[in-house]
Symmetry: C2
Subunit: 778 residues, 2 copies
């Protein structure tokens, strides 16, 4: 049917970054089938197998669960909670340790891959064709393998992972994104993708890997120590720490990692989580760097891209306008990158022929992109004009170099141990090399990050920013060969400083964060350029935020993830929308006087997770909300085996026979279309088959009894009622609704008017309403 | 009456850090009088003139106000909001500029004061007695002036200000803390206090000054541009940015400033505020440093306490245990500092004779403390063993020095331009000097910060930490003169690095923050010691947090500010307390069928700001809550002049006379003890006196009419009802209640059971309950 088809398409769009590589094949069909059984809400492909849970409800369970059942367990509960805190720290240490190991091993493997490519390429220097084939085949094989592997094992591992984490931390559980399969696919896929030398980043996927690691560790600890680790609120806290660990151990930047993860994933942030993040990220970064020392790669713990700018006079005050212009330009560049990235995906999707072809041959697209990119970077070919033989790491080290390139006219001045010579072409100016590098890398990165492999865009963007900064710096150095400083001493301009500023500004613009400033300080080990970096990052952000959404928000929109978008600064039309404009007026509810029949009807017609309880149909005074599962158990208790048996026993006694035990193998009962009733009957059937059929009650009698039971009023005594579901008023503005929804992580809220239920508004309505406005704004 | 006396004592405890200096004098009496009229809640000295407002309610107003009245003003509203965003940035720039100027001028004045003291002291080197008198008199005069000035102008300016800001940002409005008087008192008092050279800090008060500045700027802008600047939600956002500015422009540390202010003031943090903070703090730090360059103090913008540690090998891996031990020791030291500080205040309060004496002569205490401290630091006296002649700034520069002191056996090696020679006594080892410095400064700082002058404890603690770190570093350097590194090259130990680590760790331990790590990087301009700093800070925090509350929380408790304390990690007994244990069961409510008489009674007996509206006395179903002012206006409308006149006109018409106009000069009406009714009658009286008495209606008739009016059921049509006041369940745990109260900034919440109102729990109950537990824990 149509619904299934819609669901299938939706699923696929969610799972994949690029829809074009995914056939409407086995996976989608399975998913669709799962959805049909599982709990698709009304029309909602948007909901799918995601279960949105109210954080407030979690909070309640959080404390209720260990204690709710008995009053006597107070001391046990206390012990439990103390041990929980201890376990928290153990958990964070384990997470940090694990992630540092993963990060280090991955880096090692990536370096090995890149060495292997260089070795192959270097060994074949007699024949350029062979050299070209070696240069090109290697990345194509790696990327194709990566794409195929993730495709087969876990298509959820594709892409950055930050958008998904943002959605998950918002309270939407995307369970398939936190499985062991995804972990394996992401780690191996990412290693291969980065090993290929394509302009891809490690940082976004690493946030996802860390979260996966945390989720799996939680499960493992739960299996080991019992239920503590199953609480969802706790998991959210741990995931939020894990995001910090991901960035922290990827760049050895604990502070920047914590801040970046806060900025990227949160709207409201609990300061107590900040602690966990700091602790875990520091520990992880520490281990990550210690491993490097133990492996004799480094003498001691220092920054990853250590710079050596002079300390006493890092920059002149008069250089600040140049830094400001650099920041503004990076802002435009960042917005352009996000736009370009989205444009490529949308183009591919709209072009029906391309789309169809790519959907059928899903590995063709990454292979083609890789072929194109590696052909263009082939060092003896076009690559010689854009430092093509350097890896990302080498390029960055060269760009952060504290010497000035443009004045080094003669080749002798170059230190051949460093990678700076790659930038210096015998015939071509260093400016041309830099400009070509920037332009080529810009579109290559935008294209490469749309490939269906695990990859991030942070590092490529960072590199482009560094190159752009270096370009500006070199121009400044050429314009003012003796520095700008007027009186006395000569302080030449440091183009490396511009590179640092550019890197922070462009990556800040693309991700809409200011913490990239902190990340560059930790990456370079120098903080002397703090003011230029801060100024450039803030300006870049101001420009980029007014032009485009952040890269992660853009991907969220492309993937149609169930995330509540931010209310941006510019969208003031939404201040005039009120809840009454968007609420659903046809609320499903039950009343205090409802019969079981009403209950059954409500359960059959809708798929809502919670139902409103009102006093009566006339007064409509909202008394609370009840979870679907509670109602189901009420109903199944009423019509369940226990009561059936009792009734039959009663009947039997009335008939004077003691062997009056039942056969209820009567699927023909007119009033049991409900799934759980079926299940119950089946269970009963099995039992009875074993016991043997001893007496046959007429189906008529059973049906009569059922009808009678259904007409009885519901007894809410043994039912958990949430007596204070979140309520809004009709005139509540969209802005306030948005704030409350994101602050409390709500799924839905009832709209009341002096206690009377008049409607319901769910995340879906709010999201749709904002989406419409946001889409129309860009 | 007793209530007033209690209120007076409470007020005074709130206003002053040290209660001992405040007479139960004019101020307290005035306050008490104000309270009596204003709105003291039941027994509550705790509530006083603070009005707690629900943030959710603010949010509502935030958007409702411009639009609520007409549907046609949509476009106007839009324009208004767009201009608002622009004004935000203007506001932040102005704030940054202003604060940078204040900070720079203050620094300049402080430096001038200290120079003056040195000059006086230096000029009198012929006579030691004169020298001593000059050395001692100068700070005593300054501190006494500072104490007297703040006493007279605004006693609220006393102390750090961070605890107050924490309370204000929690949603409690302490209006007297944000006045122009307080601003003047704080700025001048702080300048004098710091100019005296006592171990006091600038940072805490600067947070307060920045907030004052923001509040005043808001008022000014409101007067200039209209109502936009009066919104409370907006003010909170701006205050939160102002706190960041305060730290940022005090240390020229924008990132650290933002993080520190978040950690110190917030529980839940909106990431969008982070932006404003970053922008304003960066701008402010920039201007602050640019002013120094323009004033020829510096060649270019660099860090405030620039260090020059080597970059390639900042520390050895094997030194990390030493850093960890330093961190743990700082944790204990920090807890001891907080304990000592509180002990001094409590001792003073408990000793009745001391207390009485100090209350009478309020300037004696600061003068005595200053005399003691400056006597002990007198350079030719005991001061020679503890580098007494150095100012805080000079000491810090010396401690962060990158040379090793302990090996400099001969005096010639010292660079006499630097301040290191002060640490080297001809007879005494440098270790002894350092130990004496640490011990003396430790108790001196703890005592000095209890003086009733505007002062913070951050900087003194920072300095002690630096000295302690330097001590550990020097010991390490003495133990391993050639460094620890095993293979090949010799890397001597850098004791200055230990000083940096110690400073961050001790200040982190005292304030319970990790962002001190970022502050030291920005202060020193070097980030090479990032891992040791992070490790030490985290360990110091872990130790200090398990032993004592933070200094600011400790002051909040001493001052009895209306702040909801944190639920610490260790307080698990609170997981077993439920709302039903602490709620007030005797809720004042009105029903849908209430008469105006009931209304009047409720208004007269309680002082609650909002009242519950229930369906009926039997059902007790909660329909919403109504603000007191709404009810008052309902009541005054019912008994008001308009209706009185109408009634009298009616009477007159009935009597056939047209000149039947009223005299209502009847204070004897039995049913008008309510203040507003009085007011109304008085107003009417005035009008009538002017109009002249024309006809006399018998008091009997009026009273009858009033009785009749009071017996009518209330018409809620024109009354604003909040239809969704926050509700809890009886079994909600204290932990959840706490989370919800702090997340939403609630003042009170109703406790319901299936929609039926059973109790109310307010901030007061929650706070008292937590306080009891916390106090018992420490």
């Amino acid at each position: 049917p149509l619904a299934v088809a819609v669901a299938a398409v939706e699923v696929e769009a969610t799972v994949m970054y690029g829809r074009y590589t995914q056939e409407l094949g086995v996976y989608a069909k399975e998913e669709a089938a799962r959805l049909r059984d599982g709990g698709v809400r009304d029309g909602g492909g948007l909901r799918r197998n995601t279960s949105v849970r109210s954080r407030a409800a979690d909070l309640l369970e959080y404390e209720k669960d260990p204690c709710a059942k008995c009053q006597m367990c107070a001391s046990r509960c206390q012990k439990f909670l103390i041990s929980r805190v201890g376990e928290d720290w153990i958990f964070l240490i384990l997470l940090g340790l694990l992630m540092a190991l993963v990060s280090w091993v991955m880096d090692y493997a990536i370096a090995f891959c890149q060495e292997a490519q260089k070795w192959m390429y270097g060994g074949l220097d007699s024949n350029m064709l062979l050299q070209y084939i070696a240069w090109v085949t290697y990345p194509v094989v790696l990327i194709t393998f990566s794409a195929g592997f993730t495709q087969i094992l876990a298509p959820q591992a594709v892409g950055s992972g930050i958008p998904e984490m943002k959605t998950i931390l918002r309270g939407v559980v995307l369970k398939e994104y936190l499985t062991f399969k995804t972990f394996v696919a992401k780690v191996i896929g990412l290693t291969c993708a980065l090993g290929s030398g394509m302009p891809l980043g490690k940082e976004g996927p690493f946030v996802h890997v860390a979260s996966l690691c945390a989720a799996l560790l939680s499960k493992f600890m739960a299996a080991l120590f019992g239920g503590t680790y199953m609480n969802e609120l706790r998991n959210t806290e741990m995931l939020s720490a894990a995001c910090a660990v991901g960035v922290g151990c990827c760049f050895a930047a604990p502070i920047g990692g914590v801040l970046f993860s806060i900025e990227v994933t949160s709207t409201f942030f609990a300061v107590r989580n900040y602690w966990r993040g700091f602790f875990a990220a520091t520990f992880s970064a520490f281990i990550f760097r210690v491993l490097a020392v133990w492996n004799q790669e480094e003498e001691t713990i220092t920054a990853l891209f250590k710079t050596r700018f002079r300390l006493d006079f890092p920059f002149d005050l008069q250089e600040l306008p140049a830094f400001a212009i650099l920041g503004i330009a990076c802002g435009f560049g960042g917005a352009l990158f996000v736009y370009l990235n989205r444009l490529i995906v949308e183009c591919m999707r709209k072009q029906k022929t391309i789309n169809k072809f790519l959907l059928r041959k899903r590995l063709v697209y990454p292979a083609l992109v890789t072929l194109l990119v590696s052909t263009l970077t082939f060092p003896p070919g076009f690559g010689q004009f854009m430092a093509g033989q350097l890896t990302q790491h080498e390029s960055l080290v060269a760009l952060f170099d504290n010497r000035t390139w443009c004045r080094q006219g003669v080749a002798e001045e170059f230190d051949y141990i460093s990678h700076s010579h790659a930038w210096k072409h015998p015939q071509v100016n260093v400016f041309i090399t830099l400009i070509l590098f920037i332009i080529m890398k810009f579109w290559m990165s935008a294209v490469a990050t749309t490939m269906p492999v695990p990859c991030g865009a942070f590092m490529p963007v960072f590199l482009i920013g560094a190159a752009f900064g270096r370009l500006v710096g070199e121009i400044m150095a050429a314009m003012f060969p003796d520095g700008i400083h007027a009186d006395g001493s000569v302080y030449p301009i440091v183009p490396g400083g511009y590179a640092v500023v550019g890197a922070a500004a462009l990556s800040g613009a693309v991700t809409h964060t200011v913490s990239t400033a902190v990340i560059v300080f930790e990456l370079t080990g120098q903080i002397s350029h703090i003011l230029p970096v801060m100024i450039a990052v803030i300006l870049a952000n101001a420009v980029a935020q007014s032009l485009q959404p952040s890269l992660y928000d853009s991907i969220i929109r492309i993937k149609k993830l169930p995330y509540l978008p931010e209310l941006g600064m510019g969208h003031h039309e939404k201040y005039n929308i009120r809840v009454e404009d968007i609420m659903v007026r046809d609320v499903r509810f039950i009343t205090l006087t409802s019969s079981y029949r009403d209950l059954q009807e409500v359960l059959l017609t809708g798929q809502l997770k919670t139902l409103a309880l009102v006093e009566s149909r006339d007064s409509m005074i909202l008394l609370g909300s009840i979870e679907r599962s509670q109602l189901q158990s009420l109903l199944s208790h009423q019509l369940g085996r226990q009561r059936r048996l009792e009734h039959l026993r009663q009947l039997a006694q009335d008939n004077g026979t003691h062997d009056h035990l039942p056969s209820l193998a009567t699927d023909s009962t007119p009033s049991s279309p409900c799934a759980h009733t079926h299940a119950h009957i089946n269970a009963t059937t099995n039992t009875n088959t074993r016991q043997g059929v001893r007496f046959l009650v007429s189906t008529q009698q059973i049906a009569e009894w059922e009808e009678q039971q259904l007409d009885m009023p519901v007894d809410f005594k043994n039912c958990k009622i949430d007596p204070a579901p979140f309520q809004l008023v009709e005139r509540t503005s969209l802005h306030k609704t948005h704030t409350i929804f994101s602050l409390l992580g709500l799924d839905h809220a009832y709209v009341t008017s002096t206690g009377r239920l008049v409607g319901v508004v769910s995340l879906k309505e709010v999201r749709m309403c904002i989406d419409l406005a946001v889409v129309s704004a860009y």
